[in-house]
């Protein structure tokens, strides 16, 4: 198991290098630079040139790239041009928002997606199955942002039950956090819940047909144990892969959701950074987000091996 993790971590290094290269290339390819944003609209060309010189942006790109890598290897992501704050600090402040939102949405996705998928499989072709699948189709086909706006209008504006936006830190006011995050989390979770429900249903149907399920029933095990132990343990193997993808999608979906609900998360931070060509912020932010995604995928691989003894023994 240790070896599996080590090899996955090692293979993450080239991914991080590649992603940072692509990010660097793209952010420098788009026209404009941070100087204009810093100096303001009335800046003269001299002022711009001076700022560029001070920031080292007049150096050739390979030199800039080298400097950035050098910094990162020394554990320093640099300073945000716009905020004047260390990039790592800016990220650490925003991360809990994105993390909380994604986690909340993940809990909703897992709770509703898994249970309705299992239930639909067990009640295949009954009204339970049909209702669950109709809802999942609606969840999948309704655009996130559209749903978010509908929910804001209905729950926040018309009914006034929940705030339409803004953030309350969890540790200051847990209930306030729940209130602020519920609409964003639901709008973020809806599509993925529908997706997970459908995949869980079809995977469970496939597993329930297997011979070992018949064996479990032939032993006289209670239905609960047949389904929740024997079937689910096998169904979880492919489902965990999907959950890994879902987590990645949650993190990237959080960007849009944060913007709509004005939540000060990584998504908002990066959007601002890109718009203002805050190079260090973009570079550092993307690196951290990529590392998170890679981490999630390593976790999925570990879970995968934990769930499937055939993989476990093959790998060791």
């Amino acid at each position: 198991m240790i070896r599996v993790i080590a090899s996955r971590v090692a293979s993450a290094v080239p991914i991080l290098i590649l992603v940072s290269l692509i990010t660097f290339g793209m952010i420098h390819m788009i026209p404009g630079g941070p100087a204009a944003a810093i100096a303001g609209l009335s800046a003269t060309p001299q002022q711009i040139a001076e700022i560029n010189h001070n920031l080292g942006l007049d150096k050739p790109l390979p030199v800039q790239l080298y400097r950035w890598y050098d910094q990162v290897l020394h554990g320093n992501l640099g300073t945000s041009l716009l905020l004047g704050q260390p990039v790592s600090q800016a990220i650490m402040i925003r991360l809990p928002v994105t993390f909380g939102l994604s986690l909340y949405a993940l809990v909703i996705t897992l709770a509703i997606g898994l249970s309705s998928g299992i239930l639909a499989a067990l009640r295949q072709n009954t009204w339970v199955d049909q209702v669950a699948m109709i809802f999942s189709i609606i969840g999948i086909s309704l655009p996130n942002f559209y749903l978010a706006l509908l929910m804001i209008i209905f729950f926040a504006v018309d009914l006034g039950w929940l705030p339409s936006g803004g953030y309350v830190p969890f540790f200051d006011d847990p209930l306030g956090w729940l209130g602020a995050m519920t609409l964003p989390a639901i709008s973020l979770a809806l599509l993925l819940t529908g997706l997970l429900a459908r995949i869980t249903r079809s995977t469970m149907l496939e597993v329930l047909r297997q011979d070992y399920i018949r064996t479990a029933r032939a032993k006289g095990l209670p239905q609960r144990q047949v389904v929740l132990k024997h079937a689910l343990a096998n169904a979880m193997i492919p489902i965990v892969t999907v959950i890994g993808i879902i987590v990645s999608l949650l993190l990237s979906g959080a960007v849009v959701t944060e913007t709509i609900f004005s939540l000060p998360g990584i998504g908002q931070l990066l959007t601002e950074a890109v718009l203002n060509r805050d190079y260090p912020m973009v570079q550092g932010g993307v690196l951290v987000v990529t590392a998170l995604m890679v981490g999630v995928n390593i976790l999925v691989d570990v879970l995968y091996a934990a769930l499937d003894p055939r993989v476990r023994y093959h790998a060791s």
Partner: protein
């Protein structure tokens, strides 16, 4: 009262092209400790009969259209799922045709046996473990205590079938149904498993139903034999009667195409009888074997031949019995 009494059993499947009867008007009974052999070509309804008794067919598409299954005096067909699960294990246990896929790949074999015991009895962890090791030893798994933590994929087909046997025996069933327990295994293993089955039958004092399409297997194991064809029983006899005085032309054809009886296992699969089993959707009128039967006359296709006694405990459904 017999241990198992199956009467007028008809099991059907709903398919896209209508309902088909996989098993039709099957009658038989079994005494405690008796060994019943069930033979017939692939598709003749042997597994469906066994799975109906176990209540393991998915309903729908399966349906018990008629008949009854009484086990130790209790009607099984009308039991709820919850009541039926108490029968499975300590009452009736089954070993399946597919050893490679019948064990759950993600649990250790020890776990899969212990949970069977736990589902029916209060057994502490230590007692459950000890009993499981003992079971594994009984079915001939070497270094049983160590193998407890093995996963199915680490075992050979023969070993997996032995583990299946250990699971089936875990709650000392009164009836064990072995559905072609050896078909998927190679020849030397087949003989070992069959011997094991008979030894265990003696030790546990249970009744045994051995399903096979190799009539040779029956000669060595069964007290009584049912011959099935296209969902119906065509002959029923004590084992000696089947081999000495086979009455139904189908039984004779099975015997003729069977491997030599003194080496029943060595030849592997049964060479085919000319022709094929009729499609369950378009079964011939009258005797279902008539289209393949050398002795068939027009009257054979007129009506289903009734089961007629030809000796003590020996009956066959054929109108050409003297021919």
């Amino acid at each position: 009262m017999s241990l198992l009494e199956v009467a007028g059993l008809t099991t059907t499947f709903a398919t896209e092209r209508g309902e088909i009867a996989a098993v039709e008007e099957v009658n038989f009974s079994l005494e405690a400790g008796e060994v019943l052999g069930v033979v017939g070509e692939s598709g003749s309804g042997k597994s469906v009969t066994a799975l109906t008794v176990m209540g393991l067919l998915p309903r729908p598409p399966a349906r018990i259209a008629a008949g009854s299954v009484r086990f130790a005096g209790q009607e099984l067909t009308s039991l709820s799922d919850r009541e039926m699960r108490r029968i499975r294990g300590p009452g009736i246990a089954m070993v399946f045709q597919e050893p490679m896929t019948s064990l759950n790949p993600v649990f250790t074999i020890g776990e899969q046996i212990i949970e069977t015991i736990r589902a029916h009895e209060r057994a502490g962890a230590a007692a459950g473990f000890a009993r499981t090791v003992e079971l594994l030893e009984k079915v001939g798994i070497p270094s049983a205590a160590e193998r407890m933590s093995a996963y199915p994929h680490q075992l050979s087909g023969g070993q997996r079938q032995r583990v299946m046997l250990a699971i089936a025996l875990a709650c000392r069933p009164r009836l064990l149904i072995a559905d072609e327990p050896t078909t998927a295994l190679d020849v030397t293993i087949q003989a070992q498993i069959l011997d094991l089955l008979l030894d265990l039958r003696d030790e546990f004092g249970m009744a045994l139903i051995v399903i096979t399409h190799n009539i040779g297997v029956i000669a060595e194991t069964a007290d009584r034999v049912l011959v099935m064809y296209a969902g119906r029983i065509v002959e029923e006899a004590p084992v000696a009667g089947i081999f000495d005085r086979p009455a139904h032309p189908y039984t004779r054809a099975l015997l003729a195409s069977a491997p030599a009886l003194d080496a029943p296992l060595a030849a592997g699969h049964l060479p085919a009888i000319p022709g094929t089993l009729p499609d369950p959707r378009h079964r011939p009128p009258g005797c279902r074997f008539a289209p393949r039967c050398e002795l068939a006359i027009p009257a054979c296709s007129a009506a289903l031949p009734p089961l007629t006694a030809v000796g003590p405990g020996h009956a066959a459904s054929c109108i050409r019995l003297g021919a």
